[in-house]
Assembly symmetry: C2
Homo-oligomer: 121 residues x 2
Amino acid sequence: MIDGTCQTFVSDCHVRAAVELINHTWDPVVLSALRAGPTRRNDLLGRIGGISDKVLTQTLHRLRTRGLVARLDRDGRVPGGRGAVYRLSPLGQSFAEGPLAQLAQWAAANQAALTGSSTPS
Amino acid sequence: MIDGTCQTFVSDCHVRAAVELINHTWDPVVLSALRAGPTRRNDLLGRIGGISDKVLTQTLHRLRTRGLVARLDRDGRVPGGRGAVYRLSPLGQSFAEGPLAQLAQWAAANQAALTGSSTPS
DNA sequence: GCCGGTTCCTACCGTTTGGTAGGAGACGCT
DNA sequence: AGCGTCTCCTACCAAACGGTAGGAACCGGC
C-alpha cells in the first residue's frame, strides 16, 4: 500500500487509503457528528437528519471495523435506553480533527466557487 | 448548503460538499496525478494504472464540471496526438495541494494503524 | 490516399450503495 | 405484566458506480 505496492493507482495512493475511509456518503457525516463527543445511536439518528436507521448501523459498524469509532456499552447510562454510546477512537479523532476538518475548512472557504456562483477563469 | 440550509446533514456539512468532490473512487487519484502538471489523457491512462478509458473520461468530465480541472485543447502539441491536455484549475490546485495533500499526509502517518498492525518501517 | 494513434462516446452488465419495510431481542417505566 | 423505547438485523428495491466492448471523429505520418 505504500509507494511500492501501489502501482495499481498513482504514487499518491495514500490519498486512496484515506479517501476510502470516508467514501461512503455518511461516513464523514457521522465522523463529524461524533466530534461533539460520545453520542448514543438515537441521538445520532436525530442529529444527522436524512440518514436511515440501517445505514447508520452499517456506517457505525464500518467505522468501528476501521478503528475510527468505538462503542462503549452502557457508559453514561442515560435514562430510557440501553445506553450504547459511540465515540471517536484516538485514530478517528485524529482523522476527524485533522484531514476532515481541513476538508471542511477548505470547503467553507471555497463554497462560493463550489456552488458554481461564479467560477473565475 | 451552508450553515442554514444544511439541516439534512450535520452542521459540518461543508465536509459533505468537499467529500462529494472526491467521492468517486478515481477523482482523488486523477487529481493527485494532475498535481504533476498538465497531462495528456493517454499519459494519465498510463500513469494511473487500473483505470479504464471510460471512467477516466467520466472522471475528467466530472472534475471539469466541478471546476477542478481544465482542458487545454492543443496546448503543448506533443507529437503523435491531438494534444488535449488536462490541468488543475486554480480551485483544483488549491484543493489538491490543500485538503487532499493533508489527507494523504495523514494516511501516510497513520498507515500502520490503517493497514491493521503491520510494523511501521 | 491509407493506416495508426488519440480522444471521446455509447451501449450493456455486475457490483456496490443507500433507502424502505418489517421484525427480533433487551431494558426501563408505569 | 404490559408497554414503549432503543438497538440491530434481515429481506427487498432502486440508483449509482465501475468495467468491458465497440465505434465514431480527428489528426499526423507513411
